[in-house]
Point group: D2
Chain length 490, copies 4
């Protein structure tokens, strides 16, 4: 059942490892930002696996690129903490009670400043953690170093080989004298490895928390096949995650991604956004607000009607393709932008993808001899027609979000808090409450999670406080602009 792994998201790098082709399944790249990979790894070609490194406390229980980068990484973590108040407030509460005391969590996620805040929060709540990366290119080496320096058993670096990838996971799972009782996964590779290599571990596992679409899909397949032997939490479908990773997050990252790559002015530009789902709604709202003239293509009639009512002209792509300055795809379909469209675009038209899949723009059709590709910046190609016309292709049609902008830390904070709460819930649930099944985080659950922000329902975590006390405590810290909640009717 793990055989149908999808090709892993080829991660953009300067060193151009794009030819690498291997099967690592897709992790939650939608919540991940590569933009914060500051240093390049080219300065040192010795594999971390061959290095002997020790942190300042004498521990060697980690494997990172360069432990000396820890200080720089620590600063990045501190920056991230500034906009992750939900996690920080969870952490503060944990100084008394330790809801994850005894938890031994093995994790496999992107390793960035934001996930570092999550990992350190889990530690503060009482857990022991061992961690690897869910993507061979996404690790921020400095952050990994900072975690290692702080005592976390982290095994990850930017630019792992496939063999490195599984080796790192194995080092997290296969340890003498330590056995995980919780899994936090992003993409399902860790879960897969445990199933394949150490199925006995599941006897002690109290639950799996999975964030990505792909990983969740795999869990449902396992469940369907009757092979899921522990409870699992589907974090991906929480209301808050959906709204945040799509509408609100894309509203900001479309601007960020376009600006960082092209310095384009939004005011007065004509933009067509293909698709008016949550992602499209976010893109359209932001671009309209900054003075762009936005067209929408949409085949679902309800969404099309919403686009109309929101003030966008709904068109066929072919109607406007000659005149637009920017084309953005977010339909969830394949080949929305075809070679024919690309042939008709005007000079300097920018083309990019905000959808999940890499296939919305038919980039392959541009790999023909008569077209010249010129890499003008990282993630920016000029594709040049024989007559000199240039089309500006961003991230080779991959998710712009992932490749060219950061995801707002606050959004990652929401997701990370959900993960932490799911771990707490599964770890502390009385025997039998959760069966060997995937729990859907239905709206109710999403609500409970977010109500956790304000303290309602926090009593399990923090039994000494009444809900209303917790409420008062949490208001200021957590909800961005909310001085006091709830409200109606007082």
């Amino acid at each position: 059942e793990w055989n149908d792994m999808q090709e892993f998201t080829k991660f953009p790098t300067k060193t151009g490892r794009r030819s690498l082709s291997r099967s690592i399944s897709q992790s939650s790249t939608d919540s991940y930002s590569s933009a914060a990979s500051y240093t390049d790894s080219s300065d040192d070609e010795v594999s971390p696996r061959e290095k002997q490194q020790t942190n300042s406390k004498g521990s060697s229980n980690f494997c990172v690129k360069n432990i000396k980068q820890a200080e720089f990484g620590r600063r990045e973590i501190e920056i991230a903490e500034q906009d992750m108040s939900a996690l920080i407030s969870l952490r503060k509460r944990a100084q008394g009670e330790k809801p994850l005391a005894g938890a031994k969590i093995v994790g496999c996620t992107h390793i960035t400043a934001q996930t570092a805040v999550l990992i350190e929060t889990l530690c503060a709540l009482g857990a022991q953690c061992r961690w690897s990366a869910c993507n061979i290119y996404s690790t921020q080496n400095e952050v990994a170093a900072a975690l290692a320096e702080a005592g976390v058993a982290v095994f990850a670096w930017k630019g792992e080989s496939e063999d490195d990838f599984w080796w790192c996971i194995d080092r997290c799972v296969n340890v003498d004298g330590w056995q995980a009782n919780m899994i936090l996964d992003d993409g399902g590779d860790l879960t897969h490895w445990v199933y394949k290599k150490y199925p006995n571990i599941f006897k002690k596992i109290r639950g799996i928390v999975e964030e990505s679409v792909t990983g969740v899909h795999r869990l449902y397949q396992l469940s369907k096949a009757g092979k899921l032997c522990v409870p699992a939490m589907n974090v991906n479908d929480s209301v808050t995650k959906q709204k945040f990773d799509n509408l609100y997050c894309c509203r900001e990252s479309i601007l960020d991604g376009l600006k960082r790559t092209t310095d384009v002015m939004f005011g007065g530009k004509q933009v067509v956004v293909c698709g008016y789902g949550e992602v499209g709604k976010g893109c359209c709202a932001a671009l309209k607000a900054l003075g762009a003239i936005v067209y929408v293509t949409e085949i679902d009639p309800i969404c099309a009607l919403q686009a109309c009512m929101d003030g966008f002209r709904v068109v066929k792509l072919s109607e406007v393709i000659r005149q637009v300055d920017v084309v953005i795809t977010c339909t969830g379909n394949k080949n929305v932008v075809t070679r024919e469209h690309l042939d008709r675009m005007k000079n300097s038209c920018i083309v990019c993808n905000m959808g999940h899949s890499n296939t919305e723009i038919d980039v392959t059709s541009l790999r023909t001899p008569e077209l010249t590709w010129e890499r003008v910046r990282s993630q920016v190609d000029h594709v040049i027609w024989p007559d000199g016309k240039r089309v500006v292709l961003l991230a080779e049609g991959r998710l712009l979000n992932l490749s060219c902008s950061t995801v707002p830390t606050f959004v990652l904070s929401i997701t990370a808090t959900t993960q932490a709460l799911a771990l707490i819930e599964l770890y502390n649930a009385p025997e039998g409450r959760y069966k060997q099944d995937v729990y859907l985080l239905p709206k109710k659950m999403g609500s409970r999670f977010s109500s956790t922000f304000w303290g309602t329902g926090l009593q399990r975590v923090q039994s000494a406080r009444t809900a209303s006390q917790a409420l008062l405590l949490l208001c200021d810290d957590t909800l961005p602009a909310c001085t006091c909640l709830p409200s109606t009717p007082t």
Copy 2:
């Protein structure tokens, strides 16, 4: 099961029949506008029931206030037609095929210019119609006259007594030589009357289409009790109706309602909106866009977080009550604005309700001796405190929408088209497709309906045309700003 009728919506009138107290259940007042009641009925105190009137073709098969008002009413209908292109395009298609040929529809709705367009469309589609009013105050006499002049058997006038009300319904149902086979109801009173008085009629009825919350509620009760003997369509819960009657419609009618009653300038005003559901979202968006400073109160954490992300400060009502210029309720709760809040408001604060129920503002608490009420305009009361402070109460706390503004014709067009399509569907469905149950109009159904706007799926209605032909035909007419649909990925 009909015993628990709710008190009917007391309809605002100049002549102040507010003391009238009787049990007519609640009709779809959310889609109804009183603002277009142009003439007053005081000029002629003879009951229409006692008048002998004949239209220009010699027919007396109607009972309206004054058949001579037909020309004025016709103009109102023509105005309404301008923004009801969906119905008009349905009507055009019907010139060849008549999908309602043979249908005998008895209807009970508000009788306004917009419903007149619906009724005349049903006739154009082949139906025979007999019609009464679902509310004793909401009939536009001129429109009723125009319908009567055009040959529709309409029995309705503004200011019916309760006895008149049931008499009119009875005149529609109880006819020699004519028996209804379809029911279009709004509020459930017609359905109730048939159940009670003429249950045999149901043997020929192919289906009921019901629009209002109350009527739908009654149908579910009937169904639960095993007493529903024909299929019924719940129009109220279609996706499009929900979005339109709430978000998009309220976005416009909050401005219209405030302006018509108070001439208040929005720019620079501080407004608190209680509740951030679809109605609240619409109100907030409109007011923010026109330069008001908007606060939100909300107890649901997801909605509160959305309000934050949309740029509104989420507050407790008591925090801002002293400083705001306008208070708008749309929570669905009772007594959201209490006497204590009202006591603390500043001079000239405007208070109104956009929620479904009349009880969000505790108006009763203002009926005390120390406060003076001054009716300064229709629907506008100044409530005056002993120190001279005035609070401006709109529509006595009833739905502002209903009382003080019009509902955009386009919105009513969407609902009316849904009703027409539901009638067509039930009337033409093969035997057995619909059982004796309430059909929920789930998202799929709503989608199918609206896809009808663009022609996909219209083939049952209009089998000669392919979907794509119908598409081309419908694009221009129907979807407001859509020159051509669908789009992606063509």
Copy 3:
């Protein structure tokens, strides 16, 4: 020098006095709203000049339509007071000091609820007032009655003849034992009358305050000719008035005017706005915000570029005329919308004018035999082409503002306060500060005026208070959403 009077603004009425043609110069109709003329005057054809009326205190020193309407008018004034806090706060301060004590003001303005608040404020500041109307149709009879009941010597009614008009002015000026020492004029007719009939009065006049474009133009002509014998204040060109009467006011009144006349839904409508000056900017901003798709035509390149940067497509009118749902003119040019454009509009297209002049839409070209005009509502005509196409023409191409919506009271409050302050300034200025010239209210002056709202510079008015004390006092009352001002860098 008064010979070049412009034809007076023909005021729209049901009774169709449009044929009346006489020379009353143009008053500040941009700040005036006819929408609040509640009662019609047709019920009583006896001229007010022939009636003997007495108010409740026994005075007959007035001439209005019907003194019995005073109570209704009083309520309208009370409603207006709710959004005119600047005037009300001026009034409060005057209870001690009376900066207009001894002032005898003769005024000639529109007589509406809002100007009534101004007049009563002047009285509260110590002035004696005699008042006539500057437009033969614009008087709200009920308000005039309320003023008369309150003791103001008002001579005005709706539907004056030209003879009535001058008779009323004369009754204000030519009084035994009372001689005006200040003039407040709107359009220049009062000033003209005094120049022509009673030039000696100018010996005692301390100054003239004039609001309208036309009146100000006349004053400059007088000044140029060396015939201006007192100082005059040009209120028309104050920064605040310009911004308010155009950008902010039109932003609201375009919505109000369209809604009241047509009930059209804005969401999804395609609208073309001709002209992107302050008026156009206001219209565009409002319509865009409510979900309309807005196009702009503009010939000034800077304004066109601003439109682009603000997110509007700049087009030629002919490009979009076939597809738009609404056409709005605000260019200041003639015949912007030609018969050819009108011929090409689609069925049910709405056409209206927000510009100053009546000539932006070539309405005359529609007065041809093949077109049928149908008056469907007050201010709404359907012009019907031979093929049945209807174009919806509002207010026969006159200013929509003026004819079909109200002007927000707050806006009028700003202008009225400016007038009051100009009167105070001229009346209290030391001899010689102002010469026999027109004072331009340059930016600085406008600033000083509005700073008056916050108290800086208020010391002349209210010498006991320091500026900062006044500031604290005024903040809450005056600036709409401003709890405390000024701010930076405290």
Copy 4:
């Protein structure tokens, strides 16, 4: 007259040359972006003055950091060209006629991809150019290399010493067998040098074009002192430049600057913007549009009233300082944000300046022993209070624009086109049209300039074409979203 030079803008660098203190006057840093300085100069410490370099055509008539970087620089120029269509369209037209044939331009500006497009356009129009940098840190070495490779005599590199600075200028001016006849200056240093060292050159100079505030100020001083001996064009005050460099540009760069430095999410954040001039208006509009809750402080009452009408709460800074997440200054005043304010900010509050001057935030007050400064990223300092509170200070209080974001290329295109047109105008003007004075580029001139974008008035430049032909030609290329202009009333 040159003695009152202002201290030059200390340019941010990693290598921390901030201690350098010398008198180079202020150039137009508001239109300049440092963000595109890609490579660091630390790899090679040999001074370019000591290097012997030759371009591929054998020329050594330049002095840049490293001629081998030319290819990279060429790509940056190509990227810039994509959004500088106005210049490119000027260039295209010049292939026939060469309006600058014979012009020998000596220039001193920032040397970036965008100015390179300007310089190469001037060359294409027929001019010979010699160029130096107006700021010792702002040169993009790769771009300078690309210019040198293309044959432009450029003398500039990033990190010049003061001696280098004047040496480079001298190398442009003091050439055997070549004498400049036009000056394009940014900051006035070049003009100053010529006045001081080579006054005779002015005999042949036909005019000076100056862009910066400082340079223009100096020119007026010269003119006042009767020492200006050639005509000069003040580009700084063109309408378009003012609107673009402030309102529209800041609307985008505030988002860009905050995102690149902090990855902060805008949605739900509370932001206070100090000052509501054009810059403040741009910042407020953008942040509000992205879901921030924005407060404004403002002392000018007109601007404050505009802020209110635009929907912002006007407050005193001290009122909100405890609760806001971001503080942005753009007042033009000093010490708007004081140490006391900084002491009261909450943890993780971001503080930055969008105003012209470095002194709006009292950064000096933070240089005290009890506070710890931690440089967490380039341009980002955490200032840490003894209790652990961190304030995030961006660019040490310098202009965020300048330091942390790019300026949209389109904006620079507008300014650069204005400069080109000013050069053409002065160079081609008949003797005597322009005197020895500073020409103000009044609104009319700004208009003519921008009308040039659409071709009206282009006839002097391009006499063969009629305005309307030129119009058709230019429409598509130039105005961002404008398919055809002008429009009304066609």
